[in-house]
């Protein structure tokens, strides 16, 4: 690693301007950037731009049925937010399992998304919530759905100079059901083996709309569109949950690594969604 310059602008526009024509890197909490820096011997980055001083990127708000997370929303912010606890408790559940309390104080939503890792824990619940990212860059603003934004292993559809300013999602509404499970080797500071997020918008016992996403089982966290279709407009039963869970497993392309085998992960891609759907809908998993 060789040296780089550093600036800490206080507005988004100043940050975009600073990045122009440079080999730059935007950083926020630094919880991904700093460990990576130790292994970066390329010296490619010539300028590091700290976004932590941009106040407009902070805060969680709710308006007209849309929840907005500022790009610098930390996992701790998600845990402490009353809006999130009421409107999207799946994010509270996820944040409580995210790394450890000290990392949670620094790790941001935008950082977790832009890192593009398959095991990014914030991403599956946001995919299940059908979130979009709002980007601001030299050419103005644009909004992309999160599943389209993640294009591959550590790859995103970010253009030069762009910053994730907001992550938005439609509030799933009162009475929606959710389930989140982080399967990992430890209770804290763990990298996810399989992460599963389920959102069910219900009318009585009928599922009006479903959102299901898996993490750590493919190059990026993925939405299980087929399973979502299967659940839509139907009464949730164990048999339907099983069918949806099998659909989830078909899109998973897990790999072997030090944490688990691909075979085990593939199996869990079926087990976890079934369990979460049944638990959320109050169905006994025991078929007898």
């Amino acid at each position: 690693m060789r040296g780089f310059d550093f600036v800490a602008p206080s507005t988004v526009q100043a940050a975009i301007k600073a990045a122009k024509g440079k080999k730059y890197k935007f950083i926020a909490g630094g919880t991904n950037f700093m460990p990576d820096l130790r292994h970066d011997h390329t010296g490619e980055t010539k300028l590091v731009i700290d976004l932590m001083r941009i106040k407009s990127l902070k805060g969680i708000s709710s308006a007209k049925g849309t929840i907005k997370l500022g790009g610098l929303t930390t996992a701790t912010d998600l845990i402490n937010s009353k809006i999130i606890a009421q409107e999207a408790p799946i994010l509270t559940a996820m944040a409580a399992k995210f790394a450890g309390p000290i990392i949670r104080n620094r790790a941001t939503v935008s950082g977790n998304i832009i890192d593009g890792g398959p095991a990014a824990d914030m991403v599956p619940p946001l995919l299940a919530l059908k979130a979009s990212v709002k980007l601001t860059g030299p050419k103005g603003n644009r909004t992309v759905t999160l599943d389209k934004f993640l294009t591959g292993y550590r790859k995103t559809d970010i253009k030069p100079g762009e910053i994730i300013t907001e992550v938005t999602f439609p509030a799933p509404g009162k009475g929606h059901l959710h389930g989140y499970y982080k399967l990992a080797r430890r209770n804290a500071m763990a990298i996810t083996v399989v992460g599963a997020a389920v959102i069910l918008k219900m009318k009585g016992s009928t599922c009006q709309e479903a959102g299901i996403a898996l993490g750590s089982v493919s190059p990026t966290p993925v939405r299980c569109l087929e399973a979502e279709k299967l659940l839509k407009g139907k009464e949730i039963t164990l048999a339907l949950a099983q069918e949806a869970a099998e659909a989830c497993a078909t899109i998973a392309t897990p790999i072997d690594d030090i944490r688990a085998s691909a075979e085990y992960r593939k199996l869990m891609c079926e087990v976890l969604p079934r369990r979460l759907i049944c638990q959320a809908a109050g169905i006994s998993i025991d078929p007898s």
Binding site: M1, R2, G3, F4, D5, F6, A8, I27, G29, G30, T31, M34, P35, L37, R38, G43, V48, D50, M52, A96, A99, G100, P101, I102, I103, N105, R106, N187, A188, M189
Partner: protein, 233 residues
């Protein structure tokens, strides 16, 4: 010094080898006489060699010294002037942008901030930045510009211990002590937010701090006792 000793040893070996060949030709008494001057010459040679080596070393050292600053000046951007407070005292310093806050603090003498993993995994470097617990290894030093840092020494000193520190000592919460500075800062952060945590909440609160002695039960006992004591005051 080590080099000199080695040289001596070598010369002794050489002389002993000569002795063996000499033994075959000449009588024993004569060899004993010869021993002394031979050793001396060997030593002198060794000394000469050392002197030459030293001179060579000096030359190369000079070359390195003269070339190093030029190289770094061309590849490294200038240091930035920053200031922050550590435990209430103002610190003004110059820092390279790529220096982590952990390294910066330790280089400034705040070695109570421990270097464990440098990857945000172990929590040994836990500090409070503007009152929020964080890993010093996961931030650049320049990011702390204008902010208030609290280390374990800012929570309590040897003369004036914080109840958390008292209880760690009293109840055996410290084994090797390496995780303790980070552990106490994490505990302080936990008790600031939740003055009366359950044991389960304490476990979660220190879940970002690893204790390699695995003395977690006593650490949890200590934090629980400290919370009780602070509540009773």
């Amino acid at each position: 010094m080590a080099a000199a000793k080695k040289a001596k040893k070598k010369s002794v070996k050489k002389s002993s080898a000569r002795k063996k060949t000499a033994k075959k030709k000449v009588a024993k008494k004569k060899i004993i006489k010869k021993k002394v001057p031979k050793k001396k010459t060997a030593k002198k040679k060794a000394v000469k060699k050392k002197a030459v080596k030293k001179a060579v070393k000096k030359k190369t050292a000079k070359k390195k010294a003269s070339s190093a600053p030029r190289a770094s000046a061309s590849t490294l951007p200038l240091k930035q002037a920053i200031s922050f407070t550590v435990n209430g005292a103002k610190v003004e310093t110059d820092a390279y942008a790529h220096t982590s806050l952990l390294y910066l603090l330790r280089d400034l003498g705040f070695t109570e901030v421990k270097n464990g993993c440098e990857a945000g995994d172990c929590g040994a470097c836990t500090i409070l930045l503007d009152g929020v617990a964080m890993n010093a290894c996961c931030a650049l030093g320049v990011q702390a510009d204008g902010q208030a840092i609290t280390t374990v020494k800012g929570i309590g000193t040897v003369d004036n211990l914080h109840p958390i520190q008292e209880k760690f000592i009293e109840l055996g919460g410290i084994q090797c002590g390496f995780c303790t500075p980070g552990m106490i800062v994490a505990a302080k952060s936990l008790l600031d937010e939740n003055p009366k945590p359950t044991r389960e909440e304490i476990k979660v609160g220190i879940s970002g701090n690893l204790c390699r002695c695995t003395g977690y039960v006593k650490i949890i006992d200590s934090i629980e006792a400290a919370a009780n004591e602070m509540a009773s005051k």
